[in-house]
Amino acid sequence: MWRASMSSESFRGGALDRLESAEERLLEMADGVSASAEVVGTAVDEESVEVLYGGEIAPHRTLSSFLSLRIVRGGRLGGAGGTSSSPGKLLDMAISTARVGPEAGFRFPGSTTSAPVQIRDPRVEEMGCTDLAGAMERLRDRTAGAYPYSSLEGSISVRRLRVGIHNSRGLKAEYRKALLEWDLQLLVPTSDGLVTFTSAAATCRHTSLPGASLLADVPEHGQLSETTGPVSGEVPVVFAPEAMSVLLQPVRVGVSGRSLLAGSSPLRNMEGGQVFSPAVTLLDRPLMELGAGSAPFDAEGIGTRDKALFDGGLFGGFVFDLATASMAGTESTGNAGREYDTPPYPVVTNLDMAAGDLDISELLELADGGYMVCGFQGGNSDAVTGNFTLDAGAAFAVRDGSLDARLRRLTVSGNAYRLLSQVTGLSRQRRLSGRDVLPYVCVEAVDCG
């Protein structure tokens, strides 16, 4: 009954026709009053289930469409975004912002070279609330089986997207994809508080049990009831993919051409230099098969390509959109991202950290006497400098190559860039976290308390 599909009402006839017509009308209007113009239209048909009070699973549907406009007028950039049925109002807003906007140092592309990338999995496209509710119930049964007093919260959704881009230089392109996304927390009460496991990820690939990683580490390796307190000082730490994804946030910001131009990136003047440990190879992969951030072209219509941000620890270079590339005197890397209501800005897509050659047990041997952090649940992180002080949601002492007692609490602090320069080992096993595919990572000496 809940089942929708890419051929559902948002993606056939009426709504989509109206959006495409609005895109063309807006481009025509904008072209008449500006030197050049660009319109991006996005249609969304999303179904989701959320665990509510008392463990109930609530279904929700979203049918929406948005337009984003950018113009060059008087040599300056202006823009506006929003819901789609009033193109004239968006144009008025864009004209007003062009009066104060930055100078346009680039031209919109006249065509795109769409890269070959698989972004559609029919099994995801056909998912509906019934499937999502079934997945949530299976996950709830498994977590309740492992921890009878635990509570699961969060949501699982499938988001069907159609993205179209037109500009006044003749570019006209679109793609469609369906994303399976989840943002889940498992809270386990213990005698000394709550232990938190998190799983948040997005993918275009079908998976029968989103959020299964909530139970990935603990049942095999440790018991929640045996506890110990952390010893303050520098110790080796293994970070699970969920924790690593958080620690990579400053790197996502630091590799952006916007940070380079603002002078805030710690990576400035480091191209080609050894920044991280030789074990660390980190790719930006917009062409990852069925990756959530995968697309044939970026938010400005530039063809995408995979690139090494760090190869053997050597910094490969920044990512740019058209505007930041023009200011930096280089070419766009096809990394423009865009929200429904913002102009483009340079972003990384799917991060892919190369696997190591160690099993997790071998990695734990490297961290003997230290800790393993499964994820973070709070704290403070400076995305510019990379400095952080973070509270672990769940962490364990490591002894003799395996997880020992759970830590009643653990705070780790340091600098993300320095931390990645002290990597001593990476696991063979990798896991999706956010939009990234990451291994477990062992770091030599981390400030813990």
Binding site: S85, T97, V100, L194, G379, T385
Partner: protein, 464 residues
């Protein structure tokens, strides 16, 4: 000419009438309501000399909800979708739902009313170039006051008309105008000083705020070379903003009825009438504190906002409810059903949450503390419902009741029950605060909230 159109542009009122007629004549399910929104806004960032972004947006749509056989289905839609079709989709969702039905019918108040903010200087009438000028002026002032610092001004405004119409007679409409600005100066060694202010009203609130830059420059100067406090357990005094964040993070979320339903362990720990804090501690949530971004006349189910005592002289006294959680608990809603925007179903959320004042001046609190840390300025706060973490912009060492050297940022953490039980004295003045962001619990975007409290003396809290 204005860059941002006034919030109501002609879509909402005809849509409201059409939905009202449908709900009165052919209501789907046992109960249905539709929330309609027509809004616009502007987000502007001046980084140093560059206007980094100037992004206007408009956002118009709604959320249809249907309760059929005690089960909810919801469908969000943007303006090109017929609300009647969204009601049909919501009904499909409800009928396909495997949720256990609500144990009792909903009891909406069926309010019919409207309220409009009437700001002195409407946001839509202030040209974008004036707003850009102010951002530039503040960054220039910051740059000249703290040489070598990276400076940033972030302006944000949002106007919207929000209406709720229900099948049992509810029909409310509210026009909201919110604006705010965040100023930040940061420098080598991780020094960062920021001020964020926001209110519900017009642009006049943001004029003549140059004194903030002077305060920031003083703080920036005193933090040069300051070392972070050593890790350990301290007596601390939180300033009013940090006290407000503690109230919001450490206790406010535990008062949201849907969260407590989800976590029986926490419900037991904070059962109604349980004494969880000293008798000096009273915490309220009040949607009627006008001017604060967290305030409103009607919540997103069309229920009047009100004042709820959450903690009365240290005892758990109340919860924040929606129509659904109230029906489940067999009580009346408190008018706290809120959503970031029409794309999100409403949940039990805070509005303006604060701790009531005690009787001590700041000087008296320092004397009571003797040795410890005075923490000022908020960087961030978070909770997993049992533990919280708050980062203060700076700590000042206090010895023998007198303030001494200024230290760097400090992050404090603890368990909620422990910190509530360790509040030993409160200041005599409450201040409310709001930022340009808000609370991000489980939703896309930030919900405007306000928070506050008096200066607060806490025993034995961990500084990381």
């Amino acid at each position: 000419m204005s860059v941002v159109p006034a919030a109501s542009e002609g879509w909402l009122e005809p849509a409201l009438e059409s939905v009202h007629e449908r709900l009165q004549t052919r209501p789907p399910g046992d109960y249905a309501d539709v929330r309609l929104e027509e809004g616009s806004g502007l987000d502007m960032v001046q980084a140093g000399r560059d206007l980094e972004s100037c992004d206007p947006f408009r956002s118009t749509g709604g959320l249809a909800r249907v309760l059929a056989d005690g089960r909810w289905g919801t469908c969000a839609f943007t303006e090109e979708t017929d609300p009647a079709m969204a009601l049909d989709r919501a009904l499909e969702m409800a009928r396909g739902s495997g949720m256990p039905p609500l144990p009792r019918p909903l009891s909406p108040s069926c309010t019919v009313a409207s309220r409009h903010d009437d700001p002195l200087e409407p946001l839509a009438e202030v040209p974008v170039r004036d707003k850009a000028f102010h951002c530039r002026r503040y960054t220039e002032l910051m740059a000249s006051s703290a040489r070598g610092a990276s400076v940033l001004a972030h302006y944000r405004e949002h106007q919207r008309t929000r209406a709720v119409v229900g099948s049992l007679g509810t029909k409310v409409l509210e026009f909201e105008s919110l604006c705010g600005m965040a100023l930040q100066m940061s420098g080598p060694g991780g020094i960062s000083v920021s001020r964020s202010l926001a209110h519900r009203g017009g642009y006049e609130y943001l004029r003549h705020r140059e004194h903030l830059v002077e305060e920031m420059a003083d703080a920036y100067t005193t933090m040069q070379g300051a070392a972070a406090p050593r890790s350990g357990s301290y007596r601390i005094i939180l300033d009013q903003r940090l006290a407000g964040i503690l109230v919001h993070e450490a206790f406010g979320h535990l008062s949201e009825a849907d969260l407590l339903h989800s976590h029986p362990f926490l419900g037991d720990l904070f059962a109604l009438n349980a004494q969880v804090a000293p008798e000096t501690v009273t915490i309220c949530d009040d949607a009627t504190l006008s001017g604060n971004p967290g305030s409103y006349s009607f919540d997103d189910e069309g229920e009047p906002g009100g004042r709820t005592v959450l903690l009365d002289r240290g005892r758990v006294a109340g919860r924040l409810h929606t129509l659904s959680t109230a029906a489940s608990a067999g009580v009346s809603t408190t008018g706290n059903a809120r959503a970031v925007d029409f794309r999100n179903p409403p949940r039990a959320r805070m509005s303006c949450t604060f701790m009531q004042a005690g009787k001590h001046s700041l000087q008296e609190l320092m004397e009571l503390m003797g040795d410890g840390l005075y923490l000022e300025g908020a960087v961030s706060g978070s909770t997993n419902l049992h533990r919280f973490t708050i980062t203060a912009e700076r700590a000042t060492e206090v010895r023998g009741g007198s303030p001494g050297r200024v230290l760097g940022p400090a992050t404090v953490t603890g368990s909620v029950p422990s910190v509530l039980g360790s509040i030993t004295a409160l200041g005599d003045e409450v201040r409310m605060h709001s930022g340009i962001g808000g609370c991000s619990r489980g939703s896309r975007g930030h919900l405007p909230v306000s928070y506050g409290g008096p200066h607060m003396l806490v025993e034995g809290i961990d500084v990381l």
